[in-house]
Amino acid sequence: MKMVLSHFNYWCKAKDDAQLTNTAIEMLDSSSKSPQLEWVPAMQRRRLSHYAKMALFVAAKSANTYEEEMLPVVYASQHGDFHRTSSILKDLAEGEVISPTSFGLSVHNAVIGLYSILTKNQQPMNSIAAGENTLLMALIEAYVQLDNPTVDKVLVVYCDQPLPTDYAQFDEKDSVDLACAFVVSKQAENGISLTLSPSEEKNNSALQAKQLVEFLATKHAGDSVVLGCQSAWQITIDEVRHC
């Protein structure tokens, strides 16, 4: 499987700077808690959680160049906006009536729905969750969509954050706020050319999205990484052109 990745953007924030040392990922926008979304009208922005802001921030950055051309979107998140979901669950457990706003925005595809409304993009969009393999599966999903002759570019958007404290036992020790977006095409003048091939070797790391973002941020031609535990893939960077 060969594909070209371009317009790669990410937003990352760690609880502790040490979690990001020795990685290619830099903490972005460290001065503010959430990324700034000036392009979203204030009345809409007020309802956005930190999670939604991270996702919309990278999506808009990567899609910006294609303003005239609306791209189909593959949205990927292992947990979705789980901070919102967990507060709803808490209200239910305490016998409280749940917030209609939170309920509407807690579904897995809510962020990409908001993206569609805010950018007036009516292209097909789907939302996937595949455990630790979520970002890898999003890449494969995008590749599958490119098989349609009418589709030549797909925007991939990924976002996850550490689980709320009550669920910390299910989380990885070094999980961080991480959102990334990129455009995938079969052929493009500029970008990172990748080859994906099934791998015998497995990768049991639960922080695969972070690994993949690090790998893409480093963008060294010739480098390769193995991702995935149940179905593992080797990703090799063949060439890097103007990005």
């Binding site: 204030a42 009345m43 007020r46 309802r47 009536v97 917030s99 209609p100 706003t101 509407g104």
Partner: protein
């Protein structure tokens, strides 16, 4: 300004995350929805819930009258006073 109206305005700002709006920005008689403050249908549900919680008032979501009660802070205050 009556205490009840101040309380309602505070409830509107807090329950609807109107971060940049203060109590003084909301006029008693100004429409809350579409024009005026510019709230939408999700806000109506959220505000209904907040009023139900705060004042222990049952609100009929389908009644035409409910629309009138939610027209402005003045209308809400009158509705709450009647039903409290």
């Amino acid at each position: 300004m009556s205490d009840l109206k101040t309380k309602i305005k505070k409830l509107i700002i807090e329950s609807l995350d109107l971060e940049d709006i203060t109590i003084d920005d909301i006029e008693d008689s100004e429409p809350l929805f579409i024009d005026g403050l510019g709230l939408d249908s999700i806000d109506a549900l959220e505000l209904g819930l907040a009023i139900k919680k705060e004042f222990d008032i049952k609100i009929d979501a389908n009644s035409e009258e409910t629309k009138q009660h939610f027209a402005s802070v003045d209308a809400l205050a009158a509705f709450i006073e009647q039903n409290a």
